[in-house]
């Protein structure tokens, strides 16, 4: 009989889900979305994603090096997710060098200065996107039409820093949301579902995003209550407005399928680090995002509200966690 016994304390069993597994599930769920983006926007999509992911990985590596941390923080896959998600929020013709800066900002400002994985308040990808929005307001709202040119680069992709190359290939168009907002013009339901519309890389195919959401929910990778509460709130609230004045307000299904709503609900709001973890907090968080999205889209100056809605609710997440603590077993009151 063998004498060498390993000693440690219980428990000696562990659930099969590890943080790395969770992160890689998210990456797998993103692959079809990446494929769709490539299908609609060609090489531009792949290049943007590659550059953004590279920027995130390099930044994460730099920070862990300077902080003498274990290099394992690259292994967990979270930087890859941030890179992909950031790229998916960008327009297809976005200059690559700007995307790189976005990636650096996302990881550097969005995650590492807070202390790395798990410590940050804001979703890093959205923070990177918000940074780009304020730094390059024109480039980030220049949308090109999906034209099925797989290898034709959107000319603006290769623009060099400080040379505005936007006139090179200016087949741009307004997104469905902007059309709605500024010209009161609806887009075909089916085009939205398939994704054959203009918009950012990842916000185009509603059907794929929903499938990804269902997959991640069933595998218990993320908390399904978050996307569900967002979608319900947006649907019901915009439904009320639509019933009041269908001329002025968009229909609820349009609200759900257009813009980055599904991308945000499925992949951004569900980031465990920046969403609440108490049961009640999760519902409030989802309701809050849904409410803000509708408010910003219908009454704000911007056609796109998901980014700000999620970031705003990120900022109240610590408070939500604090005030929705569950009563401890055997105690009369909270706390």
């Amino acid at each position: 009989m063998k004498k060498e016994l390993t000693l440690s304390t219980s428990p000696f069993l562990h659930d099969s889900a590890s943080t790395k597994w969770i992160m890689f599930q998210v990456i797998y769920a993103l692959l079809p979305v990446i494929a769709a983006a490539t299908f609609f926007f060609g090489l531009s999509a792949l290049l943007l994603i590659a550059v953004s992911v590279m920027a995130c990985l390099i930044t994460e590596r730099m920070f862990t090096k300077t902080r003498q941390q274990e290099a394992s923080s690259l292994k967990d896959g979270s930087a890859v997710i941030t890179g992909i998600l950031l790229a998916l929020t960008l327009p297809p013709g976005f200059p690559l060098w700007m995307a790189f800066i976005g990636g650096v900002a996302a990881i550097g400002m969005g995650k590492m200065i807070w202390g790395g994985l798990g410590q940050n308040i804001f979703n890093p990808a959205l923070l990177g996107r918000a940074f780009l929005q304020s730094a390059f307001p024109t480039a980030i709202t220049t949308w090109s039409v999906p034209d099925g040119r797989y290898f034709g680069l959107r000319g603006t992709n290769l623009a060099l820093p400080f040379f505005q190359g936007e006139s090179l290939d200016a087949v741009t168009t307004a997104t469905p949301l902007a059309l709605m907002k500024f010209q009161q013009e609806g887009t075909e339901w089916l085009s939205l579902l398939v994704g054959n519309t203009s918009g950012s890389l990842g916000e185009t195919s509603a059907a794929l995003l929903m499938l990804a959401g269902v997959y991640l929910g069933i595998r218990r990778v993320f908390d399904w209550r978050i996307p569900l509460s967002i979608i319900l709130t947006v649907f019901l609230l915009s439904g009320v407005f639509y019933l009041i004045n269908p001329e002025r307000f968009p229909s609820p299904d349009f609200m759900l399928l257009s813009g980055g709503l599904l991308l945000g609900a499925v992949f951004m709001a569900t980031d465990p680090v920046t969403s609440p973890y108490t049961s009640k907090g999760i519902w409030y968080f989802g309701f809050g995002i849904g409410f803000l999205v509708v408010l910003i889209r219908l009454f704000g100056g911007l056609p796109e509200g998901v980014m700000y809605a999620v970031l705003l609710m990120n900022s109240v997440t610590p408070l939500l966690n604090k005030f929705t603590r569950r009563r401890v077993y055997g105690h009369l009151k909270n706390g």
């Binding site: 009989m1 016994l5 000696f12 659930d15 394992s72 994985l117 465990p272 569950r326």
Partner: protein
């Protein structure tokens, strides 16, 4: 809908290896070690000398306080030493070593004890003399547990047949093979405790036990026993969770179940109580599940207390040959709350419900990551604590702040560590924090 409590986890059961294996008696070996503190409370005092002959079931150590129990020789034989020996808990404790008489048939004369004529006090004294403790694992002296003080009342007697720890099937076999003993034990307890109602809580994965007990309960219509089928979920067998599941009541923080009129007892203990009053055989053996992927022949064995782990494991064929060259992990108790052992020389004690030999593959070693605030631990904790916050505080060494986060309500069920995807040693650090806070309080 099966009854259950909120939160909890669903670990893989691993009960298939032994749940249909009938209880077998382990043969007698030569050497026995009886630590004098196998129970919770003051150690017992030896009554024997080195070289003295003892017979099976003979009293060899007496209780030294109210919270203390008697010990008996598991075999006919003689005392070889009274000295410090290693206890499965890791400490060296005073122990009586006994060598078995090779020519003895190890029989014991039987006599019944007329329990109906006993007063409550005499009943309690009898239990203390029998060495009875809770067999579910905690080893709390039964005579204290079943003595209801005058200012309290036992309204609900709850018999715990959940056995929610993976691998373990000892209680399951007791219920399936000795349902009459269980009912007899309930009858005895009912006589002294006079509960309004008695429940037997059993998880739904033990259908045969539920059937057998339902049949046996029909013989005792006067007892008002209800058998309750519960959802298979860990830690369903924790006292508080069982009360939540069956009666939908909580035990207020800082009180014990009996304050609310509940008394929960493990089913194996109830059967052992019946056996004592029917045959006068004190607690000198118990049923132990031997299982795990590294055991050649998993089994449920009736083992004399004091037998070394090594002998029990050898009787089960030892470790699988594939284990050679790899380290194996030996646990006493279940994988969620059990204790790892570094030596196979320690004895089976009164609280040993199982011996598990796990291969390294089963004991998954996780890379640890930072807390990603996923909330899985909050959804797992049956006490509704926030293990994530507690874990962050523990990491910073803020042990006193952990008290404000209700550290003391943690029952160390390990559900949080089980689910944490970042592999954070949550319950492990809570145990340390509790110990440090205890010391600081004393200092």
């Amino acid at each position: 809908m099966l009854l259950t409590f909120s939160n909890g986890v669903h670990p893989q059961e691993f009960k298939g290896w032994t749940h249909e294996k009938a209880i077998e008696r382990l043969p007698f070996f030569e050497d026995y070690v009886i630590p004098l503190s196998q129970h919770i409370g003051a150690p017992a005092k030896s009554l024997v000398r080195k070289g003295q002959k003892v017979s099976r079931g003979e009293l060899i150590a007496e209780p030294t306080a109210y919270l203390s129990v008697a010990y008996h020789s598991p075999v006919d034989g003689f005392v070889t030493a009274i000295e410090l020996a290693e206890h499965p808990g890791g400490k060296m404790v005073p122990s009586i070593k006994i060598k078995a008489d090779r020519f003895s048939a190890q029989r014991m004369s039987k006599k019944t004890i007329n329990w109906k004529s006993l007063s409550s006090k005499e009943f309690s004294q009898q239990l203390q003399q029998s060495g009875m403790v809770g067999l579910g694992g905690a080893a709390f002296p039964s005579h204290v547990k079943f003595a209801v003080p005058d200012d309290k009342k036992c309204d609900y007697l709850i018999i715990n047949g959940c056995e929610c720890e993976p691998f373990l099937t000892a209680d399951h076999r007791v219920m399936a093979e000795y349902p009459e003993e269980v009912m007899k034990g309930i009858e005895i307890l009912h006589h002294f405790l006079k509960p309004k109602k008695t429940y037997i809580g059993i998880e739904a994965n033990k259908a045969d036990a539920i059937n057998k007990l339902t049949q046996a309960a029909k013989q005792y219509p006067a007892l008002s026993v209800e058998i309750v089928t519960l959802e298979v979920k860990y830690p369903q067998g924790a006292e508080k969770m069982l009360i939540s599941a069956i009666l939908k009541k909580e035990v207020p923080s800082g009180t014990i179940p009996l304050d609310g009129g509940y008394l929960v007892s493990n089913v194996g203990t109830v059967a052992a109580v019946a056996e004592y009053f029917e045959s006068a055989k004190p607690l000198i053996e118990r049923i132990v599940t031997i299982s795990g992927s590294n055991i050649k022949r998993p089994a449920n064995l009736l083992v004399p207390i004091g037998t070394s782990l090594k002998q029990v494991l050898e009787a089960c064929g030892g470790f699988k040959s594939s284990a050679s060259g790899e380290s194996t992990r030996i646990l006493l108790g279940g994988p969620m709350m059990g204790m790892a052992q570094k030596s196979l020389d320690v004895p089976i004690v009164k609280g040993t419900s199982g011996i598990l030999a796990l291969s390294p593959a089963e004991v998954r070693n996780f890379d640890t990551y930072k807390c990603i605030r996923c909330g899985r631990c909050l959804d797992a904790c049956p006490m509704f604590l926030n293990p994530s916050t507690l874990g962050l505080l523990a990491k910073k060494g803020m042990y006193e702040e952990m008290l404000e986060e209700n550290l003391l309500d943690c029952m160390e069920c390990a559900s949080c560590s089980y689910v944490c995807p970042s592999g954070i040693p949550l319950v492990q650090s809570f145990r340390v924090a509790k110990a440090i806070n205890r010391e600081r309080k004393v200092a």
